[in-house]
């Protein structure tokens, strides 16, 4: 199926603009994707360092932190993190990880880099808007980082900045820090929206001839659906945060009970955004993993169509489950029941996807490369994270485990065990295309093994802590007699977390060494069918010499009668003598 009367044929050309236009203020989606990569890896490091501070205090409460003496006395007297600093660490760890690490890594990197290449387009629909989308992240990141250093300290209200804690400086002593948080998030929201406009418009209008909707790779479907979620959810966050900012600055009382304001309204507005947000954090990961698992098993994805509908179902249902974050808020019980039902139902499309990944692996010819190992880890860790989610979905159970380390375990199983492993898989997989050099496989496997082991040792015991009643965001568990017996678990987790953090050095070293003196990579080292593997590594400005034509779906691996065990989408399938295709 080709489009009649389409376009001037695409062509690549030598980009002879000055350095600053080519690499700094670039409008090329590939450069922008790489800019996002380095920016977000930096913030991943920041988030990880903050986590180390958290874990030190939880493992060794009241003991001076190494290098703690370097912190100002007001922040860490005698090198011991103060309670207020601790809750600031917790808040900023969540904030940096979600907004400045995982979201930009999944969306900023992979949506930008992959979408035009995988659909056969020369660039995004609005390249200059795309540039703005990246460069807005800079002031946003600067404001958020600055909030760590201002007088009064950073926000201490958790990444969810509930009112009235967040809009009453009298409770916390935090003035400027919370305001900077709000401004940073509003700018971030704008960056996210501009990007999403680009991704949606590009996928709808710029697909190459033959690239019909149901021939799109699942990574593109996932990124498209994610962008739709962002368009609908992020503006609500912006509105809610603006009202919070006004409460702090111009004397409004939206969320303050004194003048009839409603703190609970903050929770509703935030979670109306917040729940679709967590699907924004997982859907692209699912899409990336689908691409990599099909590749690694040398088999088409099992149930491609149901995979698409499952993602659409998850996205749609994701808008009507937000109350499950508020079961303990004193909310209307009838409303709570409605949310319980919708939350349990949303497990179904997620389970369908898990079964489809397993079905893809079944009787496949599995190649245990580094990307594949990370993708397999995603599936298994996501199963665990999803299962704990079912516990939480049930209101009566959540009454007990809400606000405990059970929740912390869940979120880290889906965000680290899920999203981050998928991000790592994507980085290892597409690195050769981005940089023309392939990351070292041995170092990659070492990184994977260490990460996988220490990650599970860090986060699995948190389920136990939570069921034992340890609440989240707590400064010193040992002040409670009933928590003291579990303190050895906290120590165990802390040591595992330090080793987990240290293990990431292997990947950092791998990246630095490969960029500096890695061997030139093959054009298609993974023998994949995607369009991005039909162009040089890295692809030239404009991507394709001529607009490609797409002949079939994205996962034609191990096709009987084909010359290789994969058929790129821009090559027709071999004629079939008999039987079904």
């Amino acid at each position: 199926m080709t489009a009649a009367g389409t376009a001037v044929p695409a062509h690549t050309h030598v980009d002879d603009r000055p350095f600053i236009r080519k690499y700094v203020f670039s409008t090329d989606h590939k450069i922008i994707g790489i800019q996002f990569l380095f920016l977000s890896l930096f913030f991943l490091l920041v988030g990880g360092l903050l986590a180390m501070g958290i874990r030190w205090q939880l493992g060794f409460p009241g003991q001076a932190m190494p290098l703690g003496g370097w912190l100002p006395e007001g922040v860490a007297p005698g090198g011991v993190v103060s309670p207020k600093t601790y809750i600031g660490l917790v808040t900023m760890h969540g904030t940096f990880m979600i907004f400045f690490a995982v979201m930009p890594l999944l969306v900023g990197v992979f949506a930008n880099y992959l979408i035009p290449l995988k659909i056969g387009a020369p660039d995004m629909a609005f390249p200059r808007l795309n540039m703005w989308s990246f460069w807005l992240m800079i002031p946003s990141g600067l404001l958020m980082t600055a909030s760590l250093f201002v007088l009064g300290g950073s926000s201490v209200a958790g990444w969810t900045v509930y009112a009235p804690l967040s809009n009453t400086p009298d409770y916390t002593g935090v003035h400027l820090g919370q305001q900077l948080w709000c401004l940073s998030i509003v700018i971030f929201g704008l960056s996210s929206l501009l990007g999403s406009v680009n991704y949606i418009t590009t996928v709808i209008n710029l697909r190459a001839p033959g690239m019909t909707w149901f021939r799109l790779p699942l990574s593109v479907w996932a990124l498209f659906i994610t962008a739709v979620l962002a368009i609908l959810a992020v503006p609500v966050l912006a509105g809610a945060v603006i009202m919070l900012f006004f409460d702090q600055t111009i004397g409004t009382h939206f969320y303050l009970p004194a003048s009839g304001g409603q703190p609970l309204m903050w929770q509703h507005l935030f979670w109306f955004f917040g729940h679709p947000e967590v699907y924004i954090l997982i859907l692209p990961a699912m899409g990336i993993v689908s691409d990599i698992i099909a590749n690694g098993a040398r088999k088409p994805i099992f149930g491609y169509v149901s995979m698409v509908w499952a993602m659409i179902g998850i996205a749609f249902l994701g808008f009507i489950v937000w109350g499950h974050h508020m079961f303990q808020s004193g909310m209307n019980p009838t409303l709570a029941s409605a949310f319980m039902v919708s939350t349990i139902v949303i497990a179904v499309p997620s389970a369908i996807k898990v079964f489809n990944w397993l079905g893809t692996l079944w009787r496949g010819s599995i190649h245990f490369t580094t990307p594949m190992l990370n993708a397999l880890a995603f599936v298994s860790m996501f199963i665990i994270g999803g299962l704990s989610g079912i516990f939480m979905a049930s209101t009566p159970v959540d009454m007990y485990i809400h606000g405990t380390y059970f929740i912390v375990a869940h979120i880290h199983y889906v965000l680290f065990g899920g999203s981050l492993f998928a991000i790592y898989a994507g980085i290892y997989f597409w690195f050769p295309k981005m940089f023309g050099k392939q990351l070292d496989e041995r170092l990659g496997k070492v990184h994977f093994a260490l990460t996988f082991v220490f990650y599970n040792l860090t986060f699995f015991p948190m389920h136990i802590l939570g069921l034992g009643g340890e609440m989240r965001r707590i400064y010193d568990p040992t002040v409670y007699d009933y928590l003291k017996p579990m303190q050895p678990i906290n120590v165990f987790i802390t040591v595992s977390a330090f080793l987990l953090f240290a293990s990431q050095i292997v990947m950092a070293w791998n990246i630095v060494r490969t960029l500096a003196r890695g061997k030139k990579a093959d054009v298609n080292p993974w023998h994949d069918c995607g369009l991005e593997w039909t162009v040089p590594s890295p692809p030239p400005h404009g991507n394709f010499e001529t607009t490609p034509t797409v002949y079939h779906g994205p996962y034609e691996f191990s096709v009987p009668g084909a010359p290789a065990d994969y058929v790129p989408v821009n090559q027709p399938l071999p004629a079939v003598p008999e039987g079904r295709r």
Binding site: A3, G5, T6, L232, T547
Partner: protein
């Protein structure tokens, strides 16, 4: 349409198979407007929830706000929407003098609206009605303030478009840019139609 886009084959977008059937710039603007709908939903929705979902004290809007002048201002904004659509019609039939005239009138209408709003704000503040004046003050200034901010951005964009029109950038059938900014302009008018009713009249 930039030269970059033309040479890179991004002109055929609306004919892409299984697409929505509109040209790329227009589709992008509509997607952006969808996000704006959700933004104003957060603000206006909060107003609705605070006013009718809680027991908060709430004065009758007409005792605080000036209905007649705001009704006139509403009419002015609607007129600017008409001049916008006339500008678009002129661009489609390549009537450059008509395009320039109607664009200038649109800028004038939008600027007048913002000025009247600013004058009204000044008057209200003098009367002692501030963002800290209860939930009504808070939500009134937030909703109308952000709407006014959107109109202002629209006016600035419209000035830029008008300058480009005077430079002949929309001659010879290149009217897509006029259509795109027109959509934004009408959207801002539409939000005001809703705001005027919910905030001033009900």
């Amino acid at each position: 349409m930039t030269a970059h886009a033309a040479t890179h084959g991004m002109t055929g977008g609306e004919h892409a198979q299984g697409a929505v059937g509109v040209h790329t710039q227009k589709l992008g603007m509509w997607v952006f407007l969808v996000s704006e709908v959700m933004f104003f939903t957060a603000l206006i929705g909060s107003y609705i929830i605070l006013r009718w979902g809680t027991n908060a004290e709430w004065p009758e809007p007409r005792t605080v706000l000036a209905i007649p002048i705001t009704a006139a201002n509403t009419f002015i904004l609607i007129c600017s929407s008409v001049s916008m659509v006339k500008a678009y019609a002129a661009a489609v039939r390549d009537d450059q003098p008509g395009l320039k005239k109607w664009l200038l009138l649109t800028v004038l209408g939008g600027a007048t609206f913002v000025s009247v709003q600013a004058f009204e704000y000044h008057h209200l503040v003098e009367k002692g009605f501030l963002p800290s004046s209860g939930l009504f003050g808070a939500s009134f200034y937030t909703m109308t303030g952000f709407h006014g901010f959107h109109v202002t951005c629209g006016v600035l964009s419209m000035i830029w478009v008008t300058i480009r029109a005077f430079r002949g950038k929309y001659a010879g059938g290149r009217f897509h840019g006029i259509e795109t900014i027109g959509l934004y302009w009408h959207f801002v008018d539409l939000v005001w139609i809703i705001l005027f009713t919910i905030v001033y009249l009900i």
